[in-house]
């Protein structure tokens, strides 16, 4: 195979691997923004929380409760941590965000930004600010696999496939099921949905929990790849907002497709001019804002 093509494919795969996290996080943001009209600035911090829960469940919890041999592994964590993050998210919604719905959206943005700072502060205080590796990667996903054009870590391949399935499942649930229909209706006209006898405040709380749970899930998936650090979400959230702007705020498909695509674009850019890889997304954002201000998948007008 031509070395250039090989290089592009390889960087593309690595880019896709980053795109996974862009897609899952912007998907959660889109779901939340759609129903709540809240720009959840804490999304990055909740992703970080998911990763830290994975680390804590494996490395620290046993010692804390006096059972040094207890290491809750990756697979149970993959279910447990997102649920815990979702519960945390629902508490934020129920006791903090709910008080702000009647005010200007800037207040909920400020609140979630504040939540971010608190979470980061807490974890910097109790853990290493520079990052801790997650030792709990399952044996079955260690090692590499031959993709024909490159040797690719098995775990990363698992993350890509798993995330695509999760994103498709979420899309299906929202666009094709009765629960999803309620969510879409609530996005359009919550007052009327309430008048039909649907408990919208409960739906809002569960939706916020679901969106934040997705961030927690992404965090768990990220733990074995990146080192777990209090600022891992802060670095990511800026890119995520760019993804959401490019895809179009509130569009489910837009968030997923744009997330994966921009990861790919970022990866492939590395082949041609590596220093531009970090800025290419923002360049695209500027272009999209000039040409289609409501985003590639957003409703115009």
């Amino acid at each position: 195979m031509d070395p250039m093509i090989r290089l592009i494919l390889a960087q593309g795969m690595l880019g896709l691997n980053n795109g996974v996290f862009y897609a899952m996080l912007s998907l959660g943001l889109a779901v939340i923004f759609g129903l709540l009209n809240v720009v959840n600035f804490a999304h990055g911090a909740l992703y970080m929380l998911g990763a830290f829960l994975a680390l804590i469940l494996y490395s620290y919890l046993g010692t804390w409760i006096g059972m040094a041999d207890l290491h809750i592994g990756f697979w149970p964590t993959l279910i447990l941590a997102p649920i815990l993050v979702a519960c945390f998210g629902m508490l934020i919604e129920r006791f903090l965000l709910r008080r702000l719905y009647k005010l200007d959206p800037i207040y909920s943005l400020l609140l979630t930004f504040g939540v971010t700072l608190v979470l980061q502060g807490v974890f910097i205080n109790f853990f290493n600010a520079s990052g801790t590796p997650y030792p709990g990667m399952p044996e079955s996903l260690k090692g590499v696999t031959n993709l024909g054009f490159m040797m690719f870590p098995k775990y990363r391949l698992f993350v890509i496939v798993f995330s695509i399935i999760v994103c498709l499942a979420v899309w299906f649930m929202i666009e094709r099921t009765r629960i999803g229909a309620r969510l879409r209706a609530g996005t359009e006209n919550p007052e009327l949905v309430k008048a039909f006898g649907i408990n919208v405040p409960l739906m809002v709380m569960l939706t916020f929990g679901f969106g934040t749970g997705l961030a927690g899930l992404a965090g768990v998936l990220a733990a074995p790849i990146y080192s777990v650090s209090p600022l891992m979400g802060a670095n990511l959230i800026i890119v995520i907002f760019a993804v959401v702007v490019i895809g179009g705020m509130g569009s489910i498909m837009g968030a997923v497709v744009t997330g994966f695509a921009l990861g790919l674009v970022e990866g492939v850019t590395k082949v041609f001019y590596a220093p531009a890889a970090n800025t290419v997304i923002f360049l695209l954002m500027v272009i999209v804002l000039l040409v289609r201000p409501s985003g590639l998948f957003g409703r115009q007008g």
């Binding site: 009765r178 996005t187 007052e191 008048a195 039909f196 006898g197 408990n199």
Partner: protein, 240 residues
């Protein structure tokens, strides 16, 4: 049936006040209707007819007074419990069809509020036009299709008290005629109905009683058998 012979009203509203933010829209509405009756709320635009329905559904910022359904006070209930506990079906002004839902999804959206709702097949029989567009998105329906869907949607749930807001507005005469037939059919099936209607000719033959609303208050009540002798008064109220 006249007011005097009604022993137990199904819906009884007393001294209802309502606000949107700081603006005081209803100034003490009083009305009642018995099971199986049909009343209309007449009046000019902005008189407070739609707001009366919205206030019943809890869709205003603040309410005072009393709204009793089968004797139970509904004023203090949270909005999402009003429809199920009162078995109320609400068909809003502008129809309230969800653009991002298709016909079937719109139809299935409201949860059941009681026994005896019409089946989907029955509804498609009642509104044959809808059967052909089951998978079409809400945005792509004609005004008439939207209106039929909005009515079908609340008949599916088992609602017994129907609040219908301006259902003939902007529709072709042939569709208005169909709707008239539907309303008469519903009445004969024992539904209790409140119609907010601009089109008096549509409403007159259907209603047991007309409430004329001006400036957020009921200013006149005209029974069905008094309509002919009250035409001058009615024309005065309804003239723009």
């Amino acid at each position: 049936m006249s007011t005097a012979t009604m022993t137990k009203p199904m819906l009884k509203i007393e001294n209802l006040h309502a606000w949107y933010g700081e603006s005081h829209v209803l100034h003490g509405i009083d009305l009642e209707l018995g099971e199986g009756q049909l009343i209309t709320l007449l009046g000019r635009n902005g008189a407070g007819r739609s707001t009366t329905l919205r206030a019943i559904m809890g869709m205003v910022d603040r309410r005072e007074g009393s709204i009793r359904i089968n004797g139970e006070e509904f004023l203090t209930k949270p909005p999402h419990r009003i429809s199920p506990e009162g078995r109320i079906g609400y068909c809003p002004e502008e129809r309230g069809i969800f653009a991002s839902l298709n016909v079937e999804e719109n139809l299935m959206l409201p949860p059941d509020v009681g026994e005896g709702g019409m089946s989907v097949e029955e509804l498609f029989e009642m509104f044959p036009n809808l059967a052909n567009v089951r998978k079409r998105m809400g945005t792509r329906l004609s005004g008439g299709e939207q209106q039929m869907l909005a009515i079908a949607r609340i008949l599916r749930t088992g609602s017994r008290l129907l609040l219908l807001d301006e259902i003939t507005e902007g529709l072709a005469p042939v569709i208005v005629k169909t709707l008239g037939r539907v309303i008469r059919d519903l009445k004969s099936r024992g539904y209790t109905i409140v119609l907010v209607e601009q089109n008096f000719r549509f409403a007159a033959p259907l209603a047991d009683r007309h409430y004329v609303i001006e400036h957020g208050k009921v200013v006149d009540v005209i029974e069905h058998d008094q309509v002919e002798t009250s035409m001058d008064r009615l024309n005065h109220y309804l003239s723009v």
